[in-house]
């Protein structure tokens, strides 16, 4: 049976296979307060692939490449489907780039990026569990420590 826990949408985006615990962080990346369309989400759904998953459906909104990349940081197995007229016309498997430029903040208070205007750069050391390294101070961050830029 099809996913019926959340109402189907006519046009918009469905993000599936998000780890349940990271679903709210992903919602936050999408700056929900800034658009007026409805968002539906479900949590703690069974998933063969990742155990317990969340699903987000967003009405009438499509994601930018930068937003898709941010989702990949928290949910490397997520799929993003573009819905037109109740049909998924495109299904994207998110992919984490090798380098994240201008996407994360380095939270090290003595890092040069917190003193001077510098575009942040992080190298992805490992996807799962996530490990990224600041190009400047070389500090390594795990998934729960990374700070994703809102804009």
């Amino acid at each position: 049976m099809k996913e019926r826990r959340i109402p189907a949408i006519k046009d918009g985006t469905v993000i599936d296979h998000i780890p349940s615990r990271d679903t709210f962080r992903i919602i936050r990346i999408l700056n929900p307060q800034e658009f007026k369309y409805p968002i539906n989400l479900a949590l703690n759904l069974d998933s063969k692939k990742i155990g317990s998953k969340g699903v987000i459906k967003i009405d009438s909104r499509f994601l930018t490449q930068s937003e898709v990349n941010k989702i990949a940081i928290l949910a490397p197995n997520a799929t993003v489907s573009i819905i037109k007229n109740y049909k998924a016309i495109e299904k994207i498997q998110v992919k984490l780039p090798e380098e994240l430029v201008g996407v994360l903040n380095c939270t090290n208070p003595v890092c040069i990026t917190s003193k001077e205007i510098v575009i942040s750069k992080f190298k992805v050391l490992r996807e799962e569990p996530l490990e990224v390294k600041c190009h400047y101070c070389e500090r390594v961050y795990g998934k729960d420590e990374v700070e994703i830029k809102r804009k």
Binding site: V110, K115, Y136, R139
Partner: protein
């Protein structure tokens, strides 16, 4: 191998053949070469004082016939007036051929290298990297033991915050060596380093008891427990005297064990060990000049 124009920022930037080449050139630099860098200018930009590193770089440059300009305290510069690091570097690169930068701000050297069109050498960026220290440590080991392969190396002291230990361990992991990490649990080598070293096939051993491992060591690398790295002064008080090596150590070591220390020391090694043939820390510091001569010549493309 061509180092001309390269920046020297982090242990992570080197391959094994890079390291071997630097060690080879450093050995050649033990000879006098008073004209090698004739007409070249080194800018030493020290945003915090570090007499040892600065004098060693200046000596290296002078011994190769080059000249030095710079500052060793940001209070006297326009940085105090809010000038960005980027702009300071853009200015300095027009006055010099190579830059050495030292700063408490981590990542400064990497950013400086991106700003500069001339080579930048990291003279230490906070708790992050100090590649010239790592290279002189490596050089000292190779010089005194005539090899690196197969050595058993003990690291003692603050292994949690000690950047010199982290960098040296990563550099040594290009060779098949054995490492012992000797520290109280709270100051032990971070787990992610141990994991990385083991993934590279390095045998690692952790203990808090120096005498447990000292009889099989070839090198004992001692570090200071640094007050400024401790968030809590009470924690520092607890550990500052954790290890104080003295002549009783001599009953628990191989005849050819060598003791290293990046200096300054604050009591980890009793002066009574200084006159034994085991102590090589002053020689180690002196090796800094040959290694820095090599780096200056290499990045300026003048090593031959």
């Amino acid at each position: 191998m061509n180092f001309k124009g390269r920046d020297i920022i982090s242990v992570r930037d080197f391959s094994k053949s890079d390291l071997l080449y630097i060690l080879k050139i450093a050995k050649e630099m033990e000879k006098e070469k008073p004209k090698l860098l004739d007409g070249k200018i080194l800018a030493t930009l020290f945003f915090e004082p570090s007499t040892r590193t600065r004098l060693s770089f200046e000596s290296a440059m002078f011994r190769l016939g080059g000249k030095v300009l710079g500052f060793s305290d940001e209070k006297v510069t326009s940085v105090k007036k809010g000038e960005t690091l980027w702009d300071t570097i853009k200015m300095a690169e027009r006055y010099s051929d190579v830059i050495v930068i030292r700063s408490p701000v981590e990542g400064s050297a990497r950013l400086a290298a991106e700003a500069a069109s001339i080579p930048v050498i990291n003279g230490g960026d906070g708790a992050n990297q100090h590649p010239t220290q790592m290279l002189l440590d490596l050089y000292t080991i190779q010089k005194i033991k005539k090899k690196i392969e197969g050595l058993k190396i003990g690291f003692l002291g603050d292994l949690k915050y000690g950047r010199t230990v982290h960098s040296l361990a990563i550099a040594l992991s290009f060779w098949k060596v054995e490492m012992c990490f000797i520290a109280p649990d709270a100051l032990q080598m971070p787990e992610h380093y141990i994991k990385e070293l083991r993934e590279k096939g390095i045998k690692c051993h952790k203990t808090s008891d120096v005498f447990e491992v000292s009889p099989k060591l070839d090198i004992l690398y001692v570090t200071r427990i640094q007050q400024e790295r401790f968030p809590d002064p009470l924690e520092y008080e607890k550990y500052k005297n954790a290890y104080r090596l003295d002549i009783t150590l001599l009953d628990h070591i191989k005849k050819d064990l060598k003791i290293m220390h990046p200096l300054p020391r604050v009591g980890e090694i009793n002066a009574e060990l200084d006159d034994t043939e085991h102590a090589i820390y002053f020689e180690q510091a002196a090796n800094g000049v040959a290694v820095r001569k090599a780096l200056l010549a290499l990045v300026l493309g003048k090593e031959k």
